[in-house]
């Protein structure tokens, strides 16, 4: 392990200021030192490459520039499409058409501008501008490289050589481009969009009443309303935010710990020496992981339901006189019972998973540790607490953290079992709602996107803080290369 050859390291880490300074000096060097083609490339893409005889590359850069500029300037100016500079201007949400004209084609009233699309197109355009400057930089770089090659008495690289380099030295570009494009469009852009919604008055329900798609920016008002209780969902946030936040934490801690230690105990039981049928037991527990959660959790929900077998059994035995609302599905049901039940049922979901994970780790504990302990006359319990547990906990700390974060965002266990109930009249957030299920209700059911976005940002802040603190300290981050 120790003698394993290391990969050459990442480029030396630099501070942000140094990065900026470096960028400027590169820019200056290329502009002053470059050939006439390189200088012209700052304005017209690809000229440098064309002058060096790299025709395909030059035309590629040129057409990219022409395409982006057409979208950015020509189309909005001539065809009046809502892209390009118009999309940037629309980002202010000021220049809107109110609508309300009768459209003879659809037989409906037109609704005029759509502010959510204005924001979306605005961010797409900003992304496009960033891409434009990335290509701009790439084009100058490529031209300057050809300059240097020529000065050194070599030929500038041909298109074929560039392509080949894409499969070798620059292989990472080829491999990462699909993910970068896809993730920018479908992950990063939507996330930025939703963050920005937190600073608007976007509430679909209010807007439907007014037959409009218009809303505006309102700064930090939504965040302030968490504390003051103003706005459309202000009451809800003001009265329910802290209880939901508190329960989310209690849930995450209890759900993580119960599943974690339950899983370790189950793994110890299954891996006990001399036990027969290990495989069968293991398979039974894997079975519960393999069955989709919406099936198994809905089954549990119905078993415990008002007319389900358990309540009927208890009624027939005469232990109770009316059905128990285990899961708080009706408003009057006990909140505490529902909370206990979701944690218990969540153990059913989570324990097999931890069992699988720790099984492998348990086998890796050096046996001489146990032998030494046995010679010293340690009892089984003592060995468990002094050897097994510390070892497993040490190895699985990263998992413990990620499962804690996962439990904060655990949607299925709550939504499928209790649906957040028991409900509070007048509020969306019920007794067992977590931040995520509340976020779902507020946005999807209620259409109050701005409030949902605020809840989402709070959830992010909590999970990010926990993760970053622990991750930064972890060995996996700091000694990534040494542990290979």
């Amino acid at each position: 392990m120790g003698k394993e050859k290391k990969l050459s390291h990442d480029a030396k880490s630099t501070t942000f200021l140094e990065d900026v300074r470096n960028a400027f000096s590169t820019f200056k060097k290329r502009l002053v030192d470059g050939s006439i083609g390189t200088k012209l490339s700052h304005l017209i893409f690809g000229v440098g490459n064309l002058l060096h005889g790299q025709i395909i590359k030059g035309l590629l850069f040129l057409s990219l520039q022409a395409g982006i500029l057409a979208i950015m300037i020509l189309c909005p100016t001539i065809n009046d499409t809502p892209y390009g500079w118009k999309a940037l201007a629309n980002l202010s949400l000021k220049n809107v058409t109110v609508g309300g004209e009768f459209d003879p084609l659809t037989g409906e009233m037109t609704i005029g501008s759509d502010c959510k699309l204005m924001i979306l197109f605005g961010f797409v355009t900003i992304a496009l501008i960033v891409i434009y400057f990335l290509i701009w930089n790439l084009n100058i770089n490529s031209s300057y490289k050809a300059d240097l090659a020529k000065r050194a008495g070599k030929k500038p690289t041909t298109f074929r050589e560039d392509l080949r380099e894409l499969f070798d030295g620059k292989f990472y570009v080829l491999m990462l481009t699909p993910t970068c494009i896809a993730a920018t469009i479908f992950t990063i852009l939507p996330t930025i969009f939703m963050i920005s919604i937190a600073f608007t008055t976007y509430n679909q329900q209010d807007m439907n009443e007014l037959h409009t798609n218009l809303f505006g920016w309102n700064g930090f008002q939504n965040f302030v309303s968490v504390f003051t209780g103003e706005g459309s969902l202000g009451m809800e946030i003001n009265n329910r935010f802290l209880p939901v936040l508190g329960w989310t934490f209690i849930w995450a801690i209890l759900a993580t710990l119960t599943c974690y230690f339950g899983g370790i105990i189950l793994a110890l039981l299954i891996n006990k020496k001399g036990l027969k049928g290990k495989k069968i037991f293991r398979t039974i527990f894997i079975l519960t992981i393999a069955v989709p959660q919406f099936i198994s959790l809905l089954a549990v929900r119905n078993i415990l339901g008002e007319y389900g077998p358990i309540n009927t059994l208890l009624l027939n035995w005469g232990w109770i006189t009316e059905p128990i609302g285990f899961l708080g599905l009706k408003p009057g049901d006990s909140e505490l019972l529902a909370k206990v039940m979701v944690i218990v049922i969540n153990m059913w979901v989570g324990i097999p998973y931890t069992m699988l994970m720790t099984s492998g780790i348990l086998m890796n504990i050096p046996t001489d540790l146990y032998e030494a302990a046995r010679v010293d006359g340690a009892s089984t319990t003592k060995m468990f607490f002094k050897i097994t547990l510390p070892y497993v906990v040490f190895v699985t700390t990263p998992y413990l953290i990620s499962s804690f974060v996962g439990n904060i965002n655990s949607f299925n266990s709550i939504y499928l079992l209790t649906g957040g109930g028991p409900t509070y009249t007048g509020y969306q957030a019920g007794g067992t709602d977590l931040l995520v299920t509340w976020l779902y209700k507020v946005t999807i059911d209620q259409g109050s996107y701005n409030t949902g976005a605020v809840i989402g940002i709070f959830t992010f802040i909590i999970t990010a803080t926990i993760t970053l603190i622990t991750y930064r300290r972890s060995k996996a981050y700091n000694e990534e290369d040494t542990f290979q």
Partner: protein, 310 residues
């Protein structure tokens, strides 16, 4: 005398061990039963075939074991019209299979390529990419879900009255596009492959692309299977994303989980659908569970790798 004590001690030790094993067996058997009860109940409900005054009862009943069994639920499931869609269940199964198969290929390729870059190549923005993907992963998925819906709608890939079938493409995009950011488990696996292997191949004049296809991938069967299994089963298990992206009024293009979920909580006029829901669950669970059982070894390997690497 001394020997006698020793023998006694030995005897008590074996007795203790036996008791210990007995307790373990009891706990495991009780645990196993507890863990299986909900699944057995759903399975039994799927075959329940009870009539009351000549009408079929499909709702939840109070008895755990059915009074009569038969295949009526399955017949109804495959022939009924749900949400105005004829033969809806088969269509849902077909949609899900298509989506899962395409998602499986795209996601696995994306994950493997990103994981390889992060593990075996060194370049300028590597750390930045890793940190970025971690931060993005911390935002609740539901937050971006709505925005993804708007985005797909604005390019006609969902909620498109002229081409409602495009929403299936939209859903495939939504499932697989971000997959590359979930490279951590695969990276953990690649990290264990000795770097010396890569270096010596380089000395022999292998390009990075050749190293990936000819050396790394053939060594990575477990992680490829794990990733493929995860991305293939994902669409069968998710019901929220699919519902939001495809839309509540587009029942023909739902995935099977959305359909089944809606049979219990939807606006369907008939509340007698529980046993048909159970039958559907059995049909969905059988292929997924057999896949898991068949590929159990690789699944466990992936999970264990994920535990240590986080």
């Amino acid at each position: 005398m001394k020997d006698n004590v020793k023998v006694k001690k030995f005897k008590s030790q074996t007795a203790n061990r036996r008791i210990g094993l007995g307790v373990t067996y009891t706990m495991l058997i009780v645990g196993g039963i507890v863990w299986l009860i909900p699944l057995i109940w759903i399975f039994l409900s799927a075959f329940r075939c009870e009539y009351q005054d000549g009408t079929f009862i499909g709702r939840v009943t109070s008895n755990f074991f059915p009074n009569a069994v038969g295949f009526e639920n399955f017949r109804l499931l495959f022939t009924s019209t749900y949400y105005g869609v004829e033969g809806a269940f088969l269509k849902w199964m077909g949609n899900t299979l298509l989506i899962a198969a395409i998602d499986c290929v795209i996601s696995t390729l994306l994950v493997l390529s990103v994981a390889y870059c992060m593990s075996k190549l060194r370049f300028k923005l590597r750390r930045a990419f890793m940190n970025m993907s971690m931060i993005i992963g911390l935002f609740p998925g539901f937050m971006s879900m709505i925005a993804i819906y708007f985005l797909l709608k604005s390019i006609g890939l969902t909620g498109n009255p002229a081409h409602p079938e495009y929403s299936v493409i939209g859903l495939i995009f939504a499932y697989s596009a971000g997959a590359g950011l979930g490279f951590q488990v695969a990276k953990g696996f690649f990290d264990v492959i000795p770097n010396a292997l890569v270096e010596s191949a380089k000395l022999d004049g292998c390009s990075n692309s050749k190293i990936f296809w000819r050396i790394i991938l053939p060594l990575s069967k477990p992680i490829i299977i794990y990733q493929a299994l995860m991305s293939f089963t994902g669409p069968w298990m998710d019901f929220i994303f699919a519902k939001v992206i495809i839309g509540a009024d587009n029942a023909q293009y739902w995935t099977v989980s959305v359909g089944l979920y809606s049979m219990l909580f939807g606006t369907h006029p008939d509340t007698n659908l529980f046993t048909q829901f159970a039958a559907g669950c059995v049909i969905v669970a059988i292929p997924i569970v057999s896949l898991f059982m068949f590929l159990q070894k690789y699944y466990v390997e992936g999970v264990t790798a994920g535990a240590v690497k986080g």
